[in-house]
């Protein structure tokens, strides 16, 4: 075997904190990347995957520093290389593509200028030659009519096109390694599909090695030969993608795989999650990082860190860091069969919308029709899934149903009464009956209010209870959403993402609503935590008879939690019906395209084997 192109050994990254020993974000990570190889680094938030990627080029943010280990590129040590030597590596040997295409491009420079800057940094002397090369790069990444688009600013491009431009920037220096950090996370499924195809084609035709950082196992299965699974700053498993995803050795990999919602799972099935929360990286780690959440953990898992042990398989060597797995030569048992959620039959219609229309005015004569005649009904105890890509109008619909924005035309009926344009008192009543759960559990809670105050606020606003009995009500609400009432006096930053979403749900439940509008309630959460929130919503619906509107872009999640699904496209409902029916026998071409774009985590050939 030839020497690897990139050889990372025992990499340690620490973020110093004003108090305490610091945060060890990456702990002894080792891996290699060969020329032309595609390797995925997969993990949830806080696993250290992005930090590892940034550490390769010594671009750690803030107080982050490499505190141990080595990074060798063709034998050259990068962790101790002087800054100007490193700059020569950036772009020319290792190129990077970042997550958010909306912010990763400079809004005040044309994309031609930005490409030109990079080409110039890599020694392109002749202005005309640089421009020709910029056009070439743009057409390479599939920007139509580059000669006309090259002098446009980034805001003129769609999200997918901006990501293509970013890939062009990363490829401008003809690097040997392309590091892509969550390149498709901010994009719609159909666009994600195009970008992944592009990355695959480019690495194949140019022979560039790809290091893909992602949390999405479906993306891994679709794009990479090898996968490295990270948890709590450590590598827990690594091997050929097909082997690892079909026969995981590490309980965390198995748990993660089981947690990914599958399109094939029928409506009314509970999502599988991993209990517990990720480890606190500021604490020293005695044993396996996953031990606290692992069902198979033994005493030694909590005291001694398991080494990465190699195992020969037909597809190639697999390494797993797990004491029990090292002794077992067979893979883990398959995950438990899915559990059906008990769902009472839906009751009478509580909320109905008829022919809702909304047009937003832009500058001058520009008009954008966000909703173009949308009608829907929602029964008590029923979940209506609303699926659509960005710009489909799904958030506008939520805003109008929540009376945050008025509709231009159409009617909204709540309990049979017209509440389209409620008066002041009627609006107050409507707000009590219809509550919202927001997407971002970080931005939707006031960082200076305690959890208790946040939940008590709607009680005060609607004059529910007396000041004396409110603390008891808050405690009861927190218990309902599975939080310890003792946590009421803590600030949001003391909670994890999943816990914050629980606080948001408790706040929405406080005025005892009949309808809960959930706008992408789980899309900001890790897969292993998603199940906890969808499970909670299902339980609340069963116990309280809530009607749920579940807005999301992830069809697999929506199918599992919803009774019915409405597919929204360009402000119209293109298809509506029974959740299973829509996913198995879609009639609209758009629904079919959406379904086809969802990447499945387990390669098709192995899927049945895995499910058996």
């Amino acid at each position: 075997m030839t020497t690897p192109l990139l050889d990372v050994r025992d990499l340690d990254v620490t973020f110093t904190t004003p108090d305490g020993p610091g945060l060890r974000a990456v702990r002894g990570v080792s891996f290699t990347l060969r020329r032309g190889e595609t390797l995925a680094v997969v993990g949830e938030s806080g696993s250290g995957k992005s930090t590892t990627a940034l550490a390769l080029l010594r671009m750690l943010p803030g107080t982050g520093r490499i505190t141990g280990g080595s990074v060798r590129l063709d034998g050259t040590e990068l962790t101790t290389a002087p800054e100007d030597e490193l700059r020569a590596v950036r772009g020319t040997r290792i190129g990077m593509v970042f997550q958010d295409p909306m912010t990763a491009l400079n809004p005040v420079l044309t994309i031609g200028r930005q490409l030109d800057e990079v080409l110039r940094a890599h020694g392109g002397r002749d202005r005309a030659a640089r421009r020709a090369r910029a056009l070439e790069l743009l057409s390479l990444v599939g920007i139509p009519d580059p000669a006309r688009r090259v002098d446009d600013h980034p805001h003129r491009f769609s999200g997918g096109q901006r990501q293509r431009v970013l890939i062009a920037l990363a490829l401008a220096g003809e690097p040997d390694v392309l590091v892509a950090d969550e390149p498709t996370t901010a994009l719609d499924a159909t666009v994600q599909d195009q970008i992944l195809t592009l990355l695959g084609d480019l690495t194949r035709t140019t022979g560039t090695a790809l290091l893909l950082i992602t949390h999405n196992l479906g993306v891994v299965a679709r794009t990479c030969d090898r996968v490295l699974v990270m948890y709590g700053g450590t590598v827990v498993e690594d091997g050929p993608t097909a082997e690892v995803l079909a026969r995981p050795r590490h309980p965390y990999t198995a748990g993660l795989l089981a947690a990914v919602p599958r399109l094939s799972t029928p409506s009314g099935t509970r999502l599988t999650g991993i209990p517990g929360t990720p480890p606190d990286l500021s604490l020293p780690l005695a044993g396996c990082a996953f031990a606290a959440r692992c069902a198979l953990a033994e005493d030694r898992c909590r005291t001694a860190a398991p080494p990465l042990t190699a195992l020969a398989t037909a597809a190639g060597p697999v390494r797993a860091a797990c004491h029990p797995a090292a002794e077992r030569s067979v893979p883990l048992p398959p995950p438990p069969p899915p559990v059906r959620a008990e769902r009472p039959a839906p009751g009478p219609v509580v909320l109905a919308a008829e022919e809702l229309r909304k047009t937003y005015r832009g500058r001058g004569r520009h008009r954008h029709t966000a909703l173009d005649g949308v009608s829907l009904t929602l029964r008590a105890g029923e979940t209506l899934g609303i699926v659509g890509e960005s710009g489909s109008g799904k958030s506008t619909l939520a805003r109008i149903l929540a009376h945050a924005d008025p509709a231009d035309a159409g009617r909204i009926l709540l309990d049979g009464q017209d509440v389209t344009r409620p008066g002041r008192t009627a609006l107050h009543a409507v707000r009590r009956r219809v509550q919202m759960v927001f997407q971002d559990p970080y931005a939707s809670l006031d960082p200076r209010m305690t959890a208790g105050d946040i939940v008590a606020e709607p009680l005060r606003a609607f004059g529910i209870g007396t000041p004396a009995d409110r603390p008891a009500r808050v405690a009861a609400l927190l218990r309902t959403v599975g939080l310890d009432p003792a946590a009421a006096d803590r600030l949001p930053r003391a909670f994890s993402g999943g816990q914050r979403q629980r606080i948001g749900i408790a706040r929405a439940l406080a005025p005892e609503p009949a309808v809960l509008l959930c706008d992408e309630p789980v899309s900001a959460l890790d897969v292993s935590v998603q199940a906890q929130i969808t499970g909670l919503l299902t339980d609340l619906q069963r116990d309280l008879g809530l009607a749920l509107v579940f807005i999301a872009h992830d069809l697999a999640v929506v199918r599992q939690v919803s009774h019915r699904i409405a597919v929204l496209h360009d402000g119209r409902i293109v298809e509506e019906g029974d959740a299973d029916e829509i996913c198995e026998r879609p009639r609209a071409a758009y629904t079919r395209a959406l379904l086809a774009a969802v990447p499945e985590p387990v390669p098709a050939a192995r899927a049945e084997e895995f499910a058996a």
């Binding site: 950036r90 772009g91 990077m96 912010t103 990763a104 491009l105 809004p107 940094a121 600013h153 220096g173």
Partner: protein, 314 residues
């Protein structure tokens, strides 16, 4: 660009109109009668009435207002009441001096503020950042009548390298003019330079933390080039808007600085006219100030749009 101008123009005209009504009204409300000042303390009621009639002060207020605006539009500002001479001549004489002072101060503000801002945002050593911070705080805290006196004391009295006051027009004798301009311009510029510096530092620091700077770094572009060609263009638009507002402050501050340095500008004229209730001069001056301010705002909006393409929709 023309679309933007057309969109902004109506509100600019509205501001001018509202300001003219306000200026006219306020001057009629303040105590003191220009006729009494002009006629002298011993004048009898008939004399006073005659003076009033001559000045048009016995006309109804709307008529007086329309007379004034009509004069402005036709370019006939009329005679001054008390100071003597045509109002237009008085203003033209002072305008050159004040423009010179304000532009000089603007140049200083941009140079000093720009240097401090860039230094503050990029300095690695904590004490450099601390020094920048202290300098801007001091410049903000010290009012012009203190900094002016200190500057005169240092450069004119102790060192004796610059004149303590007065003006030689820059266009007639550039070498001498610069010497006279330096101290007042610097004195006027200091607070604005501090505000600009602080703002630029903040804006630039935020630009340097943007994702696209990380993209540029990962592409191997040198840090110096990232600062000047990537972060600065991104940081400038809001600073330009602030610069527009600061220019207005400079015009206002000129009144004080002109008094300290015996600079024969509009500030001096305004002071004289106010004390002596010379309505036409005060009115025209105030309205001119508003007009210049509106113009500068319009200009900074256009520059802002030039720098930030997202604002420039057709």
């Amino acid at each position: 660009m023309r679309g933007l101008l057309l969109r902004k123009l109506p509100s600019a005209l509205l501001v001018l109109f509202a300001a003219s009504v306000l200026v006219f009204g306020v001057l009629r409300l303040v105590p003191g009668d220009p006729a009494a000042v002009l006629a002298g303390p011993d004048a009898g009621p008939e004399v006073l009435a005659a003076v009033r009639a001559r000045l048009g002060l016995d006309d109804p207020l709307p008529v007086q207002y329309l007379d004034w605006i009509g004069g402005l539009l036709t370019g006939d500002l009329g005679p001054s009441y008390v100071i003597g001479g045509e109002t237009a001549d008085l203003i033209t004489d002072g305008l050159g001096a004040t423009t010179e002072l304000t532009l000089g101060a603007l140049l200083f503000a941009v140079l000093i503020g720009g240097t401090l801002g860039i230094l503050g945002a990029t300095a690695r050593r904590p004490w450099t950042r601390g020094a920048v911070r202290s300098l801007t705080t001091a410049a903000l805290a010290v009012p012009p009548y203190v900094s002016g006196v200190l500057l005169v004391l240092l450069f004119a009295v102790l060192l004796g390298v610059l004149p303590p006051g007065g003006r030689v027009p820059l266009l007639t004798a550039p070498d001498l003019g610069v010497q006279y301009l330096l101290l007042p311009a610097l004195c006027l510029a200091l607070p604005s330079a501090a505000v600009l510096g602080r703002y630029l530092e903040d804006s630039l620091r935020r630009a340097l933390a943007e994702d696209h700077v990380r993209t540029a770094t990962a592409a191997g572009i040198a840090p110096r080039r990232i600062l000047w060609r990537h972060a600065l263009p991104h940081a400038l638009p809001p600073v330009v808007t602030l610069l527009g507002i600061q220019t207005g402050h400079l015009l206002g501050g000129a009144v004080l600085v002109e008094a300290i340095f015996a600079w024969p500008g509009l500030g001096q004229l305004a002071e004289q006219a106010l004390v002596r209730r010379d309505y036409p001069v005060v009115q025209d001056l105030l309205l001119l100030l508003v007009a210049v301010f509106v113009l500068v705002q319009l200009l900074s909006d256009l520059v802002h749009a030039r720098l930030d393409p997202r604002i420039r929709w057709e």
